[in-house]
């Protein structure tokens, strides 16, 4: 039965500030859920702490609103225990690239088959606008007492270095692009990052909706605003790493990712930067050691006999520890 948007929304009062980019992300995510052919009962949304975190409550799927920065390990635990779940982890930029940066890196190394969406607004929204790790050096958003003294982290490059096998960026108010990107990320077999540029009208007065849509720079010909975000895939860029590519080809692509992801200012790249479906997932790697893993993952195992006794045949195992007969 096809799902309608109303099916994947809860009826709770949404308390984000009006005009917040989070609304765009929520709508795109929920539309993606209705368009994907995934059984909605298998979908679990994990979120972190920050304004973004409430998305788990607004969405009518299993929703686990976790701790600040810890979304990824919670989500990976569930996926490991039951690989049949469709796990979508959602974080903030402070949450995921700041306090949770360690988990961000190690999730790439594991490459579990899941999706990670980051609300990248340049600020710590929920704690009233401090600089987040993606705010640029010297920028001074509304509530900073002094200009930001740290350089910005480049999430695309960080993900590449960490081993993410699907790396994309989208924009909160480009509904169609974001929705399609989320669908592609979910369909990708492996760890997928979608970094979403998200205006925070309350605290980020630099990277505003007007900034992204280029209201300050009208097209000389049409006098219409010229949006800053451009879709790299529409400009001829191909993110795919294929089996046929030589190591040199892969290196070249890697350098390209670095180059494009560094663009900022008047041209801001969005789209899929990198996609490599040939890296074994963590699930594959476990299968190499535990051949029954996918049929009987931790959450599906029989641990109990009819008489409620333990199903494990330990005496067989502890022969190696037993002496005498």
């Amino acid at each position: 039965m096809a799902l309608k948007l109303a099916d994947v929304r809860t009826d709770l009062h949404n308390d984000w500030c009006s005009g917040c980019g989070d609304f765009g992300i929520e709508a795109s995510l929920q539309m993606a859920l209705t368009e994907m052919s995934v059984d909605i009962h298998r979908v679990v949304i994990f979120s972190g702490i920050g304004c973004h975190g409430k998305i788990a409550h607004w969405t009518n799927t299993f929703g686990i609103h976790t701790l600040h920065g810890r979304t990824l390990p919670f989500a990976q635990g569930a996926k490991l225990a039951n690989p049949g779940l469709e796990v979508i982890a959602i974080g903030g930029d402070g949450d995921g690239y700041g306090i949770g940066a360690g988990h961000f890196v190690h999730s790439g190394r594991r490459n579990l088959d899941m999706t990670y969406i980051v609300h990248d607004n340049g600020v710590y929204g929920l704690t009233k606008g401090q600089a987040s790790p993606t705010q640029r050096l010297g920028e001074q958003t509304k509530s900073l007492p002094q200009p930001n003294i740290n350089s910005a982290v480049n999430p695309i490059m960080l993900a590449l270095a960490a081993g993410y096998t699907f790396i994309a960026r989208s924009y909160a108010f480009d509904n169609r692009h974001l929705k399609e990107t989320i669908k592609r990320a979910v369909a990708h077999r492996g760890m997928a990052l979608v970094d979403v540029l998200q205006p925070c009208p309350t605290y980020n007065d630099i990277e505003t909706k007007a900034f992204y849509s280029g209201e300050d720079r009208p097209d000389p010909a049409t006098h219409r605003p010229a949006p800053r975000c451009y879709d790299i895939e529409k400009s001829g860029y191909n993110p795919l790493i294929t089996k046929e590519m030589t190591p040199e080809d892969v290196d070249k692509k890697t350098l390209e990712v670095i180059k494009i992801s560094n663009e900022w200012g008047d041209r801001i790249p969005i789209g899929v930067f990198y996609q490599n479906g040939n890296v074994p997932t963590y699930e594959d790697r476990i299968m190499g050691r535990i051949p029954t893993y996918l049929e009987q993952p931790p959450a599906k195992q029989v641990i109990q006999l009819q008489d409620r006794k333990s199903a494990a045949d330990l005496p067989r195992l502890w022969k190696e520890l037993t002496i005498g007969s």
Partner: protein, 653 residues
């Protein structure tokens, strides 16, 4: 042989870490076990991989034993440091095996001794008019009636190399451990076949026949040498094989791992830390295991073990796994547990069953990472901000490590909360022969887990209020049972709700589960009580690994006419206040015994029962309590309770 004490002795071996001493210790222990004897072994080592001193004591007996004792009957050394450090622990009538080539070694040349230790030893020797080298140490021992057995290890090694016609002297050098053990066993009169078998078992896993042959040659040469030079040896202790049934020879870590497997743990996360990681590594080494007939078609079971990036990930990943329906656990020690506290609070808030095995070691901070301590009781009871329920189980011996690990998995799921299983290093790294535990003693209890679907979305309330505080629990992915979780205060559906009345009901719901647990968990799982025959003179109260020393110390006290009884507290939360109150009010002098500075359990008892315990025996030098320390210190307290309110134990090298 007439006046020999048979099958009751304490053997020690020492050497630089990484030189194979651990192997010698287990070869000795294994030989004894193969001969039908029971053993209890402790391991002391520095936080270091190679070079610093480590030593093992193996106590062996014809009956089951559960503690460390003072005094060494036979000390095997092949380096100067072991000799210098431990010769004074050898009892008169006991023996020391040493390498005569090292006897000239000046004490100050043993550079792994701390400077103040060198001064102390030199001072002691000077007082006796002795020199300042290994020889002086030997002379000192001899004067005390200790027998000396010179074993020129390097010439024996050369003989072995010659016999095997090998030029790989560095490899043959490694047999020094086997030589030392074999000479020991020969002196103790134990037939050679046990050591031969022990060598087979130790080296056959390596699948290198050469290695087995080399070590068997070492056994043979050592036995031969001992016979030629020392004859019967003249020691006052000896070993004789006895008939025994099957016994398990386990380390505490392994007992916990086995208990978890039996208890259905199928996801274990960890970040490496001493003395916890051995447990996870054991699980990983046995990740595929057999199921009982009839469990599944293919009979295959498995546990997924994940080494995480840190302990925050370890706890939160385990919690994620538990939400999906796996029985999940993690394992750590103090520093890692510190990092877990926020995640544990989240599990408490969202009523997630998860087990944390907390191996306590010397704290605070990095403290003494390889030494034992019971300093984390109050931390376990109070960890995490705010007030959230948790069950805290404290194991006192190997059998309890197994059964408690199993039960912890049950408690977690029945009461839907984090369970902390406290085990101290003294148990984790000790090995012991026990009767194989019987997993069928315990049922797997999954509490209010919803196994099958049937509900319609919109009906299910994950945190539905109930009399006992426990709500039916669905897992992620179960059709019809959509739910939400949040670390924020929430309503029955799991959505954020800060309404003051909701807050009161939810706090009460979560805390009520502890009352339910307190009501349902049988007293036998909360405390163990060992009554005296008749009116007790003294009631000892303790918990954790002090148990073995206390039980054996009590037997010595009784022989001296002091009737002692023992209350072992096994469940620290919910605290069995009534059971404790009754047991410590039987009229005997009450003494609290703990391996920490502040007597934490005594403080908990005071808080929960309003009964203050005046007399305390504590130990916090990082070394386990011995049977003899219990015996002596309890006698001291009993003789003059007013003058001995706080006795601090100091033994151990």
């Amino acid at each position: 042989m007439s006046s020999k004490t048979v099958n009751e002795l304490n053997w020690m071996i020492g050497g630089a870490q990484g030189s194979g001493v651990d192997l010698s210790a287990s070869a000795f222990a294994r030989s004894c076990v193969l001969a039908g004897l029971w053993v209890y072994g402790t391991r002391e080592y520095y936080s270091n991989i190679k070079g610093l001193h480590s030593y093992f004591e193996i106590r062996t007996s014809g009956r089951q034993i559960r503690s460390k004792v003072e005094g060494v009957d036979l000390l095997a050394t092949f380096d100067a440091e072991t000799l210098v450090r431990h010769a004074d622990a050898v009892t008169p009538g006991g023996g020391i095996i040493y390498d005569p080539a090292l006897s000239q070694t000046p004490i100050e040349k043993v550079d792994t001794l701390y400077k103040d230790e060198i001064k102390q030893i030199q001072g002691r020797l000077a007082q006796q008019g002795l020199g300042s080298d290994a020889n002086a140490i030997l002379e000192e021992a001899k004067r005390r009636g200790v027998k000396l057995f010179a074993v020129p290890f390097s010439s024996l090694i050369q003989e072995i190399a010659k016999r095997l016609e090998t030029s790989e002297l560095t490899k043959v050098n490694r047999t020094v451990n086997v030589l030392a053990v074999s000479v020991s066993l020969a002196l103790l009169g134990l037939d050679r076949r046990f050591m031969d078998e022990s060598v087979h078992q130790a080296f056959s896993a390596s699948r290198k026949q050469k290695l087995v042959d080399m070590n068997l040659a070492a056994v043979e040469r050592a036995y031969g040498y001992a016979k030629e030079k020392f004859g019967e040896g003249g020691l006052e202790v000896g070993l004789v094989p006895i008939q025994s049934g099957p016994r398990m020879f386990v380390v505490g870590n392994q007992a916990v791992a086995l208990g978890k497997m039996a208890g259905g743990c199928r996801l274990q996360t960890y970040y490496p830390i001493t003395p916890a990681s051995d447990e996870s590594e054991f699980l990983e080494a046995h990740e595929n295991f057999a199921l009982k007939e009839g469990a599944t078609k293919d009979g295959k079971g498995s546990v997924v073990v994940v080494q995480t990036e840190d302990e925050i990930a370890a706890i939160t990943m385990a919690v994620g796994g538990a939400l999906a329906g796996a029985r999940a656990a993690t394992s750590t020690s103090g520093p890692g547990f510190s990092l877990m506290t926020e995640g544990m609070g989240w599990a408490g808030m969202n009523e997630v069953p998860v087990v944390i095995t907390l191996y306590s070691r010397g704290g605070p901070s990095t403290g003494m990472p390889t030494r034992t301590e019971q300093g984390d009781l109050k931390f376990a009871l109070n960890a995490s901000h705010g007030e959230s329920p948790r069950i805290v189980v404290c194991s006192g011996d190997m059998e309890e490590c197994f059964y408690d690990a199993f039960r912890a998995m049950n408690y977690a799921e029945r009461y839907q909360l984090p369970v902390i299983h406290l085990v101290d290093k003294g148990l984790a790294n000790s090995n012991m022969t026990i009767l194989p535990p019987d997993p069928s003693m315990i049922d797997i209890e999954r509490g209010k887990l919803i196994l099958d679907g049937g509900a319609k979305d919109g009906e299910y309330r994950r945190f539905a209020h109930s009399e006992d505080g426990i709500s039916p629990r669905a897992v992620l992915g179960l059709s019809g049972y959509r739910f939400w979780n949040t670390g924020d205060e929430h309503d029955e559906l799991g959505h954020i709700n800060e309404n003051p009345e909701n807050r009161i009901r939810m706090m009460k719901k979560r805390m009520t589960k502890l009352e339910t647990a307190d009501r349902e968990i049988p007293e036998s799982e909360k405390v163990s009580f060992y009554p005296a025959k008749g009116h007790p003179d003294v009631t000892l109260v303790s918990w954790g690994s002090s148990k073995g020393a206390i039980l054996e110390g009590m037997a010595l006290l009784e022989a001296r006419g002091i009737k002692a009884e023992f209350l072992q507290i096994r469940l620290a939360s919910p605290f069995p206040a009534q059971a404790v109150r009754e047991r410590i009010s039987r009229g005997g002098l009450v003494i609290d015994i703990e391996q920490n500075y502040t007597a934490q359990m005594a403080a908990v008892i005071a808080e929960k029962t309003q009964i203050g315990i005046r007399n305390k025996i504590v130990k916090f030098n990082g070394r386990p309590i011995s049977r003899d320390e219990i015996y002596e210190s309890v006698r001291q307290v009993v003789s003059k309770p007013e003058a001995n309110e706080r006795v601090v134990l100091t033994h151990g090298a």
